[in-house]
Amino acid sequence: MSSEPECHELEKVTIKFAGDSGDGMQLTGSMFSDESAVFGNDLATFPDYPAEIRAPAGTVAGVSGFQVQIGSVDVHTPGDTADALVAMNPAAFKANIRHIRKGATIVIDMDAWTEDELQKAEMEEDPLKTDLVSSYRIIQAPISAMTRETLKETTLDLKGKDRCKNMFALGIMFWLFNRPLQNTEKYLKKKFEKKPDIIDANVKVLRAGYTYAQTIELFSVNYKIRPAKIKKGVYRQISGNQAVALGIVAASQKADRDAFLGSYPITPASDILHELAKYKEFGVKVIQAEDEIGGICMAIGAAYAGDLAFTTTSGPGLSLKAEAIGLAVIAELPLVIVNVQRGGPSTGLPTKTEQSDLLQAMYGRHGECPLPVIAASTPGNCFEYTLKAAKIAVEYMTPVILLTDGYLGNGSEPWLIPDMDKYPPIESRVPKINKKPYMPYKRDQQTLAREWCVPGMPDLAHRIGGLEKDDRSGHVSYVPQNHEFMVRIRAEKVERVVELVPDQKLIGNKTGDLLVISWGGTFGSLLTAVTEMQAEGNKVSLAHINYLNPFPENLKKIINNFKQVVVCELNLGQLHCILQSQFHNTNFLKYNKIQGQPFMIGELKWHFASLLAGDDL
């Protein structure tokens, strides 16, 4: 055995696993993350799938990646650039090298570094033979060969053996970052419960990788990342899409109504449908409709019949649902529309993240057709905002749009499992037995919500529909003044939702040189960038908005206390447009990126610094 290497302690480290779609990189990344989570690190992950269709093996289009940042301090993003990369083939190297920090450690599978593979990756030159090498610490490990060697005595066929090579790479990384192996071994045992030879092979290769790294003196240092000080409690990994699905079940229980989902598959929202289809034991009714219009219309029918109804989709689906959303608005039925945003317009960049459906969520329907819009900001809080959306929908009898995005939906983080008993109930106003005639559009004085009167209730039969209706009876009404009244009262009802909207939180001081405003899935990046700048002595604060319509009541006051206000979004300035229209005394600046990628901490900080310095941008 070799001499002990140095062990450096790090606060944070970002690791990227990359390989061909068939190389199991998502699993490898998740296992690394899970092990780190159990160890007590804070972390954030981001899977980076190839574009939808399986590309030929070995091509850049076929590269699948998984990035994770772990830390002994709070971690809010998967990291701008990686400190370590595992590249299972040249294509993985090529696809990722731009996002690797200079000086980083790169582990490659030497055995995959062939002429043939270089060609598939369309690399004209072998990068190992260029200057590039000098900028990184490149570890050429014979991963494939060692894996086969390790398994030569097993009964697995060659393909089966090769399938274990990701474990070898994982073993190397475990050693490099000083992780324990127990959890992973336990996980493997559970996953392949019925295939002991597979468990055996994977564990063997994992340990072999670990030992290889320990033995061979390729690494002069390894790293230690202490557990983070995180809140006590029971945790699990959760993705935004899973969190929405669990939120739906939770909301149904809190409202004491069956949950209903009418949906049509679409990337990146489909996982909510998949997840929810599993929870039949909670009485969840899931219909995969023939299309998005069918999906929302079924949900509207279910809401009308008394279920807690949802429809989930992404951009193109939201466009298709526009007309039916209008029906829910005028019928005043509770309904939650979850839109997991992706790159647009049209089919756009379907596997990439973006925040470009906000204006559509606000205005994308004919007629005066207002509804509450809220947005989640971390994978975990997709759960809470789903519950909140349902609460607003039921208590105000209105459709609500909940915006998440591909980054939140697919990304995951450790989630402190909440105690459901501490959540408030969702209360529906159900009509009492009534003197005739029943007035279905009579409103609650405070919320302006009508009652939720559903078929089957005795002696309350009535008719509703998409034509303008009389103020109280709900009968069709062409009376001009009634129309104006109804249009205004529907708008006011949405404004009154503000009573369920908590005050806007401000991260930083109440006054200062620069207020950064952001919303939705960019929270982690903005939080990191702003807190780092605060630590560096800048008078910067962050208001990250979750309630987009109506805005929190104190927002205006916050805005007025800063010299400059900049709105940062992954679009061309949609929240900017709304804010500028509503708070027109302020001159809002904007910072936008529209590349299907999250913000980098670095670019944000650079931009904020320029603003603070008064640079002419």
Binding site: G262, E281, A303, Y304, L327, A461, R463, G465, G466
Partner: protein
């Protein structure tokens, strides 16, 4: 108390119980009136509790129907009635859910939901008022308008081959298809009652007259002087005989059906095909669906009615089964499922 007394005491449900106070707004002479009455009669005959009945409609003249029936009602948007109704029925299978729609509403814009509902066999009574025209929007051709018809949107004559709603329905795996005319309230009521008892999607095509924009489009079928010769009234198990003198019948000739005259060429009643609405194979129903004037009489009545599990039944059975299998599960348990770890 004598039986007689009991009967007088029991509140008898009548058509009146299903009438609302809303003024009915169809053109005088519109076929929709007769359908309304027949539906109300059927509901009375079925002794339905009005609280458990829902009418869901799209947009069109016919789709104002829910306002005139004193049950729950939802006048939705164009083409989407059956999708909304699917949600209603799935949410609460105990409700009697009736869909009211037009040839434009269901066969044009709503075509997709229409074929999918039929395939899924969701428990809906699905009435399509086929007047072969867009009534509400004042007279454009619809997917059932006859080829060549001059309408507002086809001043030179429509070029389009119309759908045959029966063929389309059967092609979409229908478990119940019937055709009625707005001129025969008695038969309408009868068939609405049969539909109400059917499990799954009971689709009824109503040949309805639009006096304003397509007057007499069904005249050759419904007119007093034509109906006996031009209607083939079908009853399960009975021979397919028609004609003023009951002297015409249908026989099978290889893969085709043929009209014959009983008594001619040695043909007797025994040679005539018997209607089999319950046949598992849809072949006969499909053949009948092809009958159009002038070559064939138009089949009226229940053309197909077979047993097939309804969608909502199956879904609720799956849920019940899942609940039984995992009885103890509560929300906190669900959240805590999967890989968890504790930080302390």
């Amino acid at each position: 108390m004598s039986t007689a007394e009991k009967i007088t005491e029991e509140k008898k449900i009548t058509r009146k119980d299903f009438m609302t106070d809303q003024a009915v707004r169809w053109c005088p002479g519109c076929g929709d009136y007769a359908v309304l009455v027949s539906v109300q009669n059927a509901l009375a005959q079925l002794e339905k509790n009005k609280d458990d009945v829902v009418f869901v409609s799209g947009i069109g003249c016919s789709s104002r129907f829910p306002y005139y029936v004193d049950t729950y009602g939802f006048h939705t948007i164009h083409g989407r009635a059956v999708a909304v109704a699917t949600g209603v029925k799935t949410a609460n299978p105990k409700l009697d859910v009736w869909v009211i729609s037009g040839d434009g509403d269901s066969l044009s814009i709503g075509g997709n939901h229409f074929i999918h509902a039929i395939r899924r066999n969701i428990g809906l009574k699905y009435l399509v008022f086929n007047n072969e025209i867009y009534g509400l929007t004042k007279g454009q051709y619809s997917p059932t308008t006859k080829q060549g018809a001059v309408t507002k949107s086809s001043p030179f004559g429509s070029l389009e081959q119309p759908f045959n709603p029966a063929s389309l329905c059967i092609g979409a795996e229908s478990s119940f298809y019937a055709r009625v005319t707005d001129t025969n309230p008695k038969m309408m009521t009868e068939i609405f009652v049969a539909a109400a008892k059917h499990k799954g999607t009971a689709f009824i095509e109503i040949l309805q007259n639009c006096v304003i924009f397509n007057n007499k489009t069904h005249e050759q079928i419904t007119g007093k002087e034509f109906r006996d010769d031009n209607q083939l009234v079908l009853k399960h198990g009975e021979p397919m005989i028609f004609g003023q003198n009951k002297d015409k019948g249908i026989v099978l000739d290889k893969t085709e059906l043929k009209v014959v005259r009983i008594g001619e060429n040695g043909i007797t009643e025994a040679d005539v095909l018997k209607h089999d609405a319950h046949a598992e194979s849809p072949n006969l129903a499909f053949m009948l669906s092809r009958f159009t004037l002038p070559q064939y009489p138009v089949p009226i009545g229940i053309i197909r009615q077979v047993d097939r599990p309804a969608y909502e039944e199956q879904l609720h059975a799956q849920i019940k089964h899942a609940k039984e299998k995992k009885k103890a599960v509560d929300l906190n348990q669900l959240l805590n499922s999967g890989d968890t770890w504790e930080v302390d």
